[in-house]
Symmetry: D2
Subunit: 356 residues, 4 copies
């Protein structure tokens, strides 16, 4: 029965790394072989997280500093949970010794135009020839390519919440879009595990504010995929805000239609496009004109999407809710692994929301 694939998690001590380990701990077709962490190197998971109830099968496993070259080929897949610039360094280092699959949760291979990458991230790209090899891992949209991929660039959290909501509209080509404005609200875990005064309880509770109010790094990733889905080059207006909740992203997306748009039956058309694209999906739930709520998706790998058409301003409003750490990061990464290896797509991901 030991036919489980062997996986490694590189950078396993941040929020996305830990969440990956929790999911993989319960996965019937994959098992963790290595997990690396500079911070926790040499310590057992069960000692680092002594009270964590979700590491049952890996509590005796130790974090290591790095995987020895000669051991790389005992691994079927590597998950990278590294800061910008570090994934390409790591791949450059191991590429000759490793021939398994890679799922990168970082930003280095999402943006295909290296100039754009360098402009927004400030890093020189050292593995340009790998950019075309990485499939953009928005599972529901790029499933066929992911199936065949060796390398997947897992989407950012905001882009996941936004692109799943835009896809049915963009892919039809039936709307004349004037502008796209995205007002996103994220829980605090989106900021990662930083010990920063901004993230103290006293600075978050009873509070709300905008941050990175222009030029957030997820913009080029969204614009690239909008173009890929629609052929349509557009500058989007994107503004993230910080919510006093631990988890979840709620995006309110305003698609302003051109004045001469034909808007007869527009609601019916939107229903149809969403249902066509998502009715068979297990991890996208289209609610029609019902509103998604953050608490319904937190703890799950599901995106919930609703919409309204504001005819006074010719604007389609789309409302999208995901768990930023699951569908927005580690959950979608495992979903992509499942697709890449031909497992059931929800293997390890049949998670209950505790709130709804």
């Amino acid at each position: 029965m030991s036919e489980k694939i062997k996986v490694a998690v590189i950078g396993a001590s941040g929020y996305t790394g830990i969440e990956l380990i929790k999911i993989l701990d319960n996965h019937e077709k994959a098992e963790i072989k290595y997990m690396t962490s500079r911070t926790y190197s040499g310590k057992k998971a069960g000692d680092v997280f002594p009270l964590t109830l979700s590491l049952k099968n890996n509590s005796e496993r130790s974090f290591i500093d790095e995987i020895k070259k000669e051991n790389l080929n005992s691994i079927d897949a590597i998950f990278l949970c590294l800061p910008p610039g570090k994934s390409m360094e790591y791949i450059a280092e191991i590429k000759d010794a490793f021939n398994g699959k890679i799922i990168d949760l970082g930003a280095d291979f999402r943006i295909k135009n290296e100039k754009e990458y360098e402009k927004w991230y400030g890093n020189h790209h050292i593995l340009k020839d790998y950019l075309p090899k990485f499939v953009y891992g928005l599972s529901e949209i790029n499933r066929e390519a992911i199936k065949k991929a060796d390398y997947v660039a897992n989407p950012g959290c905001y882009p996941t919440s936004v692109l799943l909501a835009l896809a049915p509209i963009l892919k039809t080509g039936n709307f004349k879009i004037d502008s796209i404005n995205i007002d996103s609200k994220s829980g605090v875990s989106g900021a990662g595990k930083k010990l920063k005064e901004d993230y103290l309880f006293l600075n978050i509770i009873n509070n709300f504010y905008a941050y990175s109010a222009v030029n957030h790094r997820h913009i080029p990733e969204m614009e690239q995929e909008i173009k890929n889905m629609s052929g349509f080059q557009i500058n989007i207006c994107f503004t993230p805000h910080l919510l006093p909740v631990d988890r979840g992203i709620f995006s309110t997306i305003y698609i302003n239609l051109k004045k001469n748009s034909n808007i007869v039956n527009i609601e019916n058309n939107i229903f149809e496009y969403f249902n066509d694209l998502y009715k068979a999906e297990i991890f996208v739930q289209f609610l029609g004109e019902n509103m998604p709520e953050l608490k319904d998706v937190v703890g799950t790998n599901t995106a919930q999407i609703g919409f309204m058409f504001d005819k006074r301003t010719n604007t389609i409003k789309i409302f999208s809710a995901i768990d930023n750490i699951l569908k927005g990061a580690s959950g979608q990464a495992v979903q992509n692994m499942n697709i890449m290896f031909g497992f059931k797509e929800d293997e390890g991901l049949r998670l209950n929301s505790i709130y709804n």
Copy 2:
């Protein structure tokens, strides 16, 4: 020393009514003479709110069912805290017997076009001739008219947060505006004191969602005042959301400029327009390109406003934070009373935020 004016609060048991009483309890120039409440009629404030520390001077005062006609003229000012349709009924009833000043915290006299009022509120307007007599009480913008007014229509909470933020831009006439999109987020007290399943702790904590996602009733009020400030008739796109906090409104306002706008030095211009309008104001704090935070204004009568210009999309983003019950309702109502009676504008309103 008993030169305090005498005021009455009609409908004193909702959130805005109670907040008014708390402010007036501490006011050096005004004192409560009557407070009416169907719910609490006959009971003392100190018995209804036995643990409330903020009703020191009025704890022995009883709520009454209504003010007798013959007593009306002992009152200098009446605050109305009544649901839509009820303010006009009340004024119709007392207008011949009362010749003091009225500050209406409700919606009946904000919208000057009675057709619009009837369309959005579903009530037939029974006091059309009073519509022009009511000054729209956005204190900083209409101060001169408020000084001379007998009747003030106190703005809605969302319109206050939005119009103060738009005013410096609109009043210059120097921007060619293509569209205005407003994404607002409100604390739960904005919904009033309703015992509704939606407002249970379990449905709000860890949650976030949009509501009244098209056609919220505050839209015509904002469009009317935008027109008054700019001469400019525009349909705005407005979407309110519910935050898991008790108090506060944060509005993110997107002013999309026409493509042929001259945007040279736009940031400097915006700084100048805001500073010109607000530098002498005690209750509006312009932060430039710093971001307001909800916790800094909650508990105070102050609006904080910041901005960013997104040149990729030709969009001015304005960020506005207020306490919905204070600057968005009862605080501004007292500010208006202070203006109408020639008191210091911050009398009774020198409130500290407890969070910042």
Copy 3:
């Protein structure tokens, strides 16, 4: 493969009923055959909870008003989620027609002395002869009796958090106990699904207070089981408080030892007693002198317990954390079903905390 047992949930629309349905929806050895609810009778689960992601297999199943007598014997087990007094009425009604197993999540069969029951609950007991037939379902403590039981009285949420923490101390008989004082703090879901002003967001957030400060109904249940575990009749001092969190119970338990107690090596002894009792348990985690935290257990069926000995006052302090709806109600109910039917004890209950 349809060897799953068939179960019914009576009173399925409260928090414990819904949680049961969510757990059973994922259970490999049991399936829901009927779920009754006065409130939702005739409606499909998927329509009542359209956004709930955790009812995948039962979304097409309708709530019914009641199970017809002739259908009762197609059911292997009934879960009762009914208010005090209603479980005994229901059993009185069906007892001649049903010969499967019953797990009662209510209070009617927990207290074996019907006089005590009547005194604390104010209900006349109509099924006294069934009292001895019901095993008190504190899974870890009464497992052997539960295995053989046809009827299980599932413990209350506070008693579960307290009795698991007391058991290792009480069962040894090696401590001379002077008094037991329990200060418990519960999340709001403990109050059930009541639409009450007390449970509005605005009355819970930023707040904390005690309630039922003397004579809470869980007292006789705890005293009875303390006696069963120790032979020791004691009046406990118990005070529940309301926390601004949705889920979880944290109990701080003070065991004051008699002045002439031998307290040499007391910490070592406590370690030993806890480890002896719980080291093999999957749902009780003893942390020694580490402190449990609510967020680590919420969403799971696990109890976490730590302790400190305060030698200045001769007091053993025990700290206990559970999820009130899971280990404190529906999770333990399924754990008991698993024990009664010989399933793996954690079947359906391998739940991850989303916070830790």
Copy 4:
């Protein structure tokens, strides 16, 4: 009119220092002359806290590193907001040059037995001769001594919440007390402004736990004052917990009476003792058998106290709620200044709770 006294705040950048500045900013009889802070030295208050609305009169005032010796005698009172060990060092340094009054918000002069101080705080006491000169500043209890004092040791936050609740019981001498057990719950601001992983939003929200579960440093202070009020030497059992709220301390206090106590009419007696002691107080509100709530006192200088007698266990339960930064620190410090200088006791302290 410049008859205001001049005060200095030493260590003005922590939570208690900032809160002092906010209160003094609004005080009609006192004004800040100096405020020192290592962290912010050379910066204006208005630049350090640009968005703070509560520093109206001092926003142009700069923090300084220290007060020059020759300037000390232009000051009427000094507030010390310093960590343990630092207040005595500071006083040792200035004592020959300063002859005004001192209010120490730190711990160095609260415990009169220097051996106890050294044992619990681990610091050698270098100003033992000053210990008897410092009056313990529990305003309501020691008012007469405070009036005449030059030096006041302001009580700790937990001791304030506990001692005000115990005083009426202890001072009568009519109860035979067997043990006192105190279970306290504090908001996060009680921990001060530390950048520590424990105080991140993600580790506090939805969470609750005990800390310093034995031997918290406030124990000797409480035991000393219990003895002073009652003549009664007792070891108290004290356990603090961390609440997911920003402000407030709620203490549940269990006074276990000796078995042979005469408990006839005990509730009436307790009513009488509390009313006798507190009915004339503006900052202590006795609620009888009503329960205090944290939200009612947060933002104010008031303590609310309720009680219940549990006759099954012979235990008086007292429930006490304060704002830890106000009545538990800076508010009481200003109250003490008002008493020392003969100002109205609530000068600068007429603060409204924003929640009730």
